[in-house]
Amino acid sequence: MANVVVVTSGKGGVGKTTSTAALGAALAQAGENVAVVDFDVGLRNLDLMLGAERRVVFDLINVVQGVVRLQQALIRDKRIDTLWLLPASQTRDKDALTDEGVARVIADLRTRFDWILCDSPAGIERGATLAMRHADGAIVVTNPEVSSVRDSDRIIGLLDAKTEKAERGERIAKHILITRFDPARANRGEMLSIADVMEILSLPLLGIIPESEEVLRASNLGAPVVLSNPGSAPSRAYADAARRLMGENVDMTVPSEKRGLFTKLFGRRAA
């Protein structure tokens, strides 16, 4: 039974694409068949995060318009062979996506994969609404910061109104993924606390990804963080989140960096 999950946020730059790549890789590592689909037509990034930018021949638009078959556009990851990418087009825009075309592609993906993760563009316009349209579930990526939280609240309202499931009177499973969380800054009140975010959004929490240099390093390497440095704090947080997505009961913790005696003694200077 395939599971279509949209990764969305409303606000840009909160970590949708990073999270799509990391969760997709973590699910695939657990043996699931995963397709990650880039809906950010015109501003694609997921190919870079997966280090597949030089292997893109056909893209989502080509498949939506029926120019090529789905298999021709899917790119298999070189490191995990159950992880596949359906890239977006960089030269077109969101108007090239049609309702029927997207419905057909998603239906086709459902027959081949366990998980279909749709990386939504920022905003609440056509690209974002099409990315969420056929979803069974949603991961709402939020930074612990007021504008991001309000935009997430807006997106949650749209998930309850504009998705196919919502229009049939069903509810789509929604989860919050908090990214770029810095416990020290939250303690000092410079950031919203986890409790604040949960109180405002009142949805189940999928995971808390700590702020980490590893995330930027991973994207520059073209590898999901769970592959570039599996022992790092964000990698462990994403792996936990993926297990929760699969229905496992995993204690909610904020993983921190494992520090050796040296870094403990010299703290930030050494980091």
Partner: protein, 247 residues
């Protein structure tokens, strides 16, 4: 000295008013007798109030209408318009023909006889029924079980709104009556939207952007610091909105 007089622009504004709709039934003399009886029981009920003559139940000609309006004027009922009639039949000298009347809820008619239907404005359709007052009871409150998310608007002009969850920043709740929010109020709440100054706003935790009652509004930027994040109620006293803690 010569000054050019420029024509001053004329402003037209649309306004709606509540009016009583009187629906005579044939024979008109009997109906007038019933009306007199109703006026006897509640003297001054119609005095000075605008009324509309609903002719949907009758087939009165212009020649019948003029004396009827005179009769009503002797009872201190002044007809401001005619409803349920063809405008072509009623030229100058008679009140204008009105259309698109909507029923209004609120005050009940003091006395009601089978024929003196001096109810408040109703649609012509409702008038045609033998018992126009026996319309479907409208729900007086709206229960919202989910949080009201940013960008969403809950609009319920008929009465109170009860929200079990929170009202997010950038969300809006508009009610004809009072608003009760059992979560946090972070967005806007507008109570008494139809001009009900008795409406109030209650919330379990106030972080609101804007509160409005019967058109008087107040941003909560200037809210006393010790009220923030507390359960409060807001109400109108004259034209001043007051906010006080509930705990």
């Amino acid at each position: 000295m010569h000054s050019q007089v420029r024509p001053r622009p004329v402003h037209f504004r649309g306004r709606s008013y509540l009016a009583f709709a009187l629906a005579p039934e044939p024979p008109v003399t009997d109906w007038l007798a019933d009306l007199d009886a109703a006026i006897q029981r509640s003297a001054g009920f119609f005095a000075g109030r605008p009324a509309v003559l609903d002719l949907a139940n009758t087939a009165l000609s212009r020649a019948d209408i003029v004396p009827l309006i005179k009769e009503l004027e002797t009872r201190d009922i002044r007809i401001m318009g005619i409803e349920g009639a063809d405008p072509a039949d009623f030229g100058p000298g008679l009140p204008p023909v009105l259309t698109n009347g909507r029923p209004a809820s609120g005050r009940e008619m003091v006395h009601e006889t089978s024929q003196a239907k001096a109810s408040e404005a109703k649609t012509p359709d409702a008038k045609a029924k033998p018992q126009p007052q026996a319309t479907e009871p409208q729900p007086a409150s709206l229960l919202v079980e989910n949080p009201v998310r940013s960008g969403q608007t809950i609009y319920f002009p008929n009465g109170d709104v009860v929200v079990l969850g929170s009202v997010g920043s950038g969300a809006e709740v508009v009610a004809g009556g009072s608003i009760h929010i059992y979560g946090s109020l972070r967005g806007r709440a507008m109570a008494g939207a139809n001009g009900n100054a008795q409406a109030r706003i209650f919330c379990r935790r106030i972080e609101a952007e804007l509160l409005a009652i019967s058109g008087y509004y107040r941003t909560v930027d200037d809210l006393e610091v010790d009220l923030r994040h507390r359960p409060v109620q807001a109400w109108l006293e004259g034209d001043v909105m007051l906010i006080a803690a509930l705990d």
